[in-house]
Chain length 254, copies 2
């Protein structure tokens, strides 16, 4: 069913990343940018060093599986560049994208022994992988890691609950507006310009994230443009022209 794990195949090419020589190194992640260690949240530098020590770097080209639902959950990982999609499938192939992951984002945490969803690269992705076994060992020694992981899980849970409201009760227009605003906020979190919103994923991915079809997504983009709420310099860039009105629409106020 699942032919192979790309994490164990040539698709993931580990790149050089020296672990710090000593746990006391003031700048433990000099060889690795800060995004690689988001997993640790607010843990101190010594723990960051330990994390950097068990981490391996990988690069994945666009449109490639990263892990699949039901596979043994061997590792958790942080994306450091590119975009990934997390999704679940129904028996007949219908797909629901649970979320997108960008530079600095975390994925792969699962309760059971297997992944609860699949992950694929959308564009070319760079990520840092933390083997589960070694992470578990680290958690046993450094209980503060559990608090960092709990924070990550709570963030993810909050986002999922917001998406439940979107999928259960919002109209197509409200869904797309909510999505654009959340992408804009995500760009700001990554210290990128909040406008224009850059769509790193195609219409099919947007549709499967919003519980719509590509045609409805396309029509709704057109209708938002006609209403003067957005501009579309090209299919992958959205200028937010009326953030206030869009916020109202996203919260179901008009």
């Amino acid at each position: 069913m699942v032919p192979h794990s790309p994490l164990n195949s040539a698709a993931l090419r580990p790149t050089t990343c020296e672990a710090p020589a000593s746990a006391r190194t003031p700048a433990p992640c000099a060889a690795c940018d800060a995004r690689a260690l988001n997993i640790c949240g607010q843990v101190d530098e010594a723990v960051q060093c330990l994390l950097a020590g068990i981490m391996t770097r990988h690069e994945i080209e666009g449109g490639t599986p990263i892990f699949e639902e039901g596979q043994p959950a061997d590792s958790v990982m942080n994306i450091t560049a590119g975009t990934a999609r997390l999704y679940k499938l129904l028996g007949d192939g219908r797909r629901q994208i649970l979320g997108f992951r960008f530079a600095g984002d975390f994925m792969g945490l699962s309760h059971g022994a297997t992944y609860a969803y699949s992950a694929e690269s959308v564009s070319a992705v760079q990520l840092c992988r933390f083997p589960r076994r070694r992470l578990e060992a680290l958690r046993a020694q450094q209980p503060q890691l559990d608090r960092g992981l709990l924070d990550l899980a709570m963030d993810e849970l909050g986002a999922a609950q917001e998406q439940l409201l979107l999928l259960g009760r919002k109209t197509a227009e409200e869904r797309l507006v909510s999505f654009l605003l959340s992408l804009s906020r995500a760009q700001r979190r990554r210290r990128e310009p909040a406008d224009p919103v850059v769509l790193t994923m195609g219409r099919a991915d947007i549709a499967d994230y919003l519980g719509l079809t590509i045609e409805t997504v396309s029509r709704t983009f057109g209708s938002l443009r006609k209403k003067g709420l957005i501009a579309l310099p090209d299919a992958l860039h959205v200028r937010v022209l009326s953030a206030d009105r869009m916020e109202d629409i996203a919260s179901g106020l008009e």
Copy 2:
């Protein structure tokens, strides 16, 4: 906007619950049934005793607010009897129920300083409340608590992701069948008979959980009955007549 917190009002009447005299008591929860301490998961008995020490018991009549989205998240709690609904609202009153909580279930964990959703009792509810400040203090002393909380959060996250698939991609029939099967599994987890499924909530709650209207829920119940998949002795009891076929329907296989 939010008139008052029922947790600070007469709606929640603390009842007697003696904390164990010593942290070494072999049966720390003798005065409190096991369901009150689900928060601790697999932590050892000493920690269970500490938890029991900061816990207060409350009773709430049906249809009463427990906490509301945006309020300060003062406590987390375990339901020990009855049913509660967790939900979010849109600006115009549309409601999405995020989940139901039954005896033994946990709720109120939130990342920020405020609750991310509202909670109400559906039927009369008994719950055990753990004040956040005291729980934080306990977490600082007993890091294993964070692992228990992480497990709870991961369970909740997994359920939310399953519900995303339901709301985004399943038909009305698939949604209702999925719901009935999950209620059945929940009954089995609570050591109750898996059949008949007992609907402790009304059609409006089911509709707002499944992203449908009460009319569609009612019609879909009727259609499942006509197909011979379920029997409806009365509006609140469902006999599962063909679990296998229903499992297939729920996974989108027919």
